[in-house]
Amino acid sequence: MAEDLDQAEETVEPDSETSPPPPAEDNVVAPTASPTPTPAPAPTPAPISNGIPEPERTPAPAGAEQHPPATLKNRYLIFPAMPLPNLDSPTATAYGVEDRREPGRKLFALVCTPGLPTRTQDMKDLRNHTVHGLLPLVDFGAVPWSPLNQSCMMVIFDRPLGGRLMDSFAGQQVMISEYELGRRIIEPLLPALLELAAMSLPHRGLRLDNLYFMDKDHRELVLGECVTASPGYDQPAIYEPLERAMAMPSGRGVGATCDDLYALGMMMVFLLLGRNPVAKLSDDELIAAKAESGTYQTLCGNERIPMQLIEPLRGLLSDDPRERWNLEALELWHSGQKKTPIQRRPATKPKGPLKFAGRDHVTPRTIAHTFSKNVSEAAKLIRSGKLELWLRQSLGDPHMAEGILATATVSKVKEGAPGGSDDVLVSKACMYLDPHGPIHFKNFSFMPDGFGSALAVEYLRKGNFQIPAELFAQDLLGHWFSSQPEKHADLAILDKTFQTLTGLAKITDMGYGLERCLYQLNRTLPCQSEILQQAYVDHIEDILPALDAAADNMETRSRPMDKHIAAYIATHFKYDIQPHLKALSDPKEETSLIGMLSLFALMQWRMKRENLFGLSSWLGGLLQPAIGTYHSRSTRRTIEQEIPALVRQGSLPELFDLIDNAERRHSDTSAFEEAQTAFEIAETEILGITGEGVDQEQMALEAGEKTTAIFSIVLSMIAISIIIFVKTL
């Protein structure tokens, strides 16, 4: 076998590809700059059809060679003209890299799909730690990528000079003997798995096409990258443990080392047999077979497995994560020590099968999986009570039957309301039938620890959060927690997280809602705002400069704020911005504008960012309604005259102080009240003179009469005084 491998190594041709499997239901492919296909690769030997699944890879955008190189951290030049299709990841395209400091160093870059969540935190960890047996991650960062006309996350790796392991078998059967398997595969990969486990960083990308030779002599085998997509996203379903395989690729969850070991077991089976023994089965058939017979039995039941590999394969491919071999067991086996064989516990067999969707089901897990794909029929079956009866009488699980009965009763009570819909009923029933499986709702299926990436990919695909919003509205996440038979500490943490998210999702204000959930769950996800489409804002410090840069290209009437930006700031900005968000969400335009300005001003002040000329100008042009909150026209004119000077300074705090100075606002308000009173007094006086029902002439006449009477009395008094004076003389 080793000879075969060596022969294959000599004829290695990196561009060879086996036929890809059908794309997963929520696979997102990298956008291409042009619809024209990439030039056909150089002719390669025809691959032998072995049925080993490989994920579909996105070709590099056509015409990329005409673009200038991108520069990462002023050190790495990434050349669009140097695509390396043989090093492509399923959701990231590979390009040649030149290191300015070490010109001879062989590197390559993976350009990630914009919008798709990446494992940025894991990138940091892997950059700072050397993991033996793992493709060395040199550096990473987001830089503008001209072929896609937007910023993309780029990850720089040392180039594996020997290419892919799979490519090294070009033209020959992908097969390694049981004697070579340990030395060739387990030995180089085990240190990587051990170190990753020590870092609490599951790889979640173990598959045959993700193994590389670092050297041209094909001696140093390493695990490929795992950071350009969310955990398990790139994996063909067969490599995933049963419960995660049933979820959509984006919702497979972070997982654990035991999931990596399952994938390792699967790789071992493929390499040992030289083919995929269940290649003819569709994903659904495979899941059903695994659920009913167990993974090992499904794959190896009809195959001749060497004696020394039966126990490790049975251990690694165990469907119960608690029974699955851990790294310690693998290490023991590899060092030649024996481990106590797994005691096989036979699955509870029902007295009779449940016929649904054209096949007989004997496990609740396959029923749940099939229910999620045949919702209306499943709802009919649940409502008819046949499922409950089967669970109670045939399977002998009264607890599960009670759960299904309760769900059906609640659905009947809520009939006609969203809570009584078929989708909700089936989703809840699936949680009872397969409590350890994924949550299914309207073709949105995810493991609870994969909700974040599922949410991100759902938004990337559809541009909205309709299904997750319904999921929160119906409190399906809370129902999932209550349906769990065992409530351990991890579940309690998840439940608390979901409760918090449900609270956030139900608030419709800016800075909350599903957008907030998206960023809370995907802390390293860049801001998805359309305003920042060309930028890659994955740090709160970058948001103001990005908006400042976007100011030149945006229509000045639009606002530099949307639900994504507000949610991103609310998630990542460490200071209390509740009052700002409340003002921002106010239906009054002027209050909302002042809230937005105050928020940006606070950010600029706290982050000590200076000279935001573009953003100041953008905001300054929008502030007319906010200026209008002052009653005094002369104050408004003064503010309008002062804005250009502050815009030239690029200072948002000063702009905010101008617009919303407390002293100025107080004096404006009190002066306005005085003016109102003065106006009212004047109006009262006018009405007293010319008002309705007032005879002005009559009033004047009466006034004249009074004046005459007074005049007459005064005159008579003067005359009397004179008479008295004259008489007394």
Binding site: H631, S632, R633, S634, F672, A675, Q676, T677, A678, F679, E680, A682, E683, E685, I686, I689, T690, Q696, E697, M699, A700, L701, E702, A703, G704, E705, K706, T707, T708, A709, I710, F711, S712, I713, L715, S716, M717, A719, I720, I723, I724, K727
Partner: protein
């Protein structure tokens, strides 16, 4: 009968009773003065007859015509009262005064002058008052316009609000039921 009618009738009754009471007091005082100063009272009575007539026929608010006529009329009567008090304060002397045509002419002429004053002067004064009022209104309107220019139309919000209140109040007033 509805409430406003009842109220107005009650007010009229109250006024009538009060008028009677006032008249009683006046008669008492006059009787008192007639006893202690009969000559003076005789001169006053005949001399101030135009004032009494003016009082009776005066419909103006505040009895301005009465004050006007009475004031000047008193000036015409007063010199003869002084004469009466300083020379012979008897009823004969008083009768002599009131029976002297010249004296009566003086007294009534003064009253007539008072009437003339009342007829002529208010019209002149009212013309002045009208001009002053128009100037005042113009001045107030200018002030209001300046306030609106500085503070915007919302400065009149209180006035508008009061107008609306009045309008609502007038619309909600009960209407007189139709007797037919």
């Amino acid at each position: 009968m509805n409430d406003p009618d009842l109220q107005s009738q009650l007010e009229a009754d109250h006024r009538r009773r009060r008028g009677r009471s006032n008249l009683t007091w006046i008669l008492l005082i006059l009787t008192f003065f007639l006893v202690i100063a009969a000559p003076t009272m005789i001169v006053f009575f005949f001399g101030l007859l135009p004032t009494l007539v003016a009082y009776i026929i005066d419909r103006s608010k505040g009895k301005t015509a009465t004050f006007c006529v009475g004031g000047i009329n008193f000036v015409g009567v007063f010199p003869y009262i002084i004469t009466l008090w300083t020379e012979r304060n008897t009823i004969d002397a008083a009768m002599a005064i009131v029976s002297d045509l010249f004296v009566m002419l003086v007294m009534y002429s003064s009253a007539a002058f008072g009437w003339l004053l009342f007829l002529a002067m208010p019209t002149v004064v009212s013309s002045f008052v009208l001009v002053l009022q128009q100037r005042k209104v113009a001045q107030l309107r200018t002030e209001q316009k300046q306030l609106i220019e500085e503070w915007g139309p919302e400065v009149a919000a209180l006035v508008e609000m009061h107008h609306m209140d009045e309008l609502e109040a007038s619309l909600s007033e009960p209407t007189m039921p139709d007797a037919s």
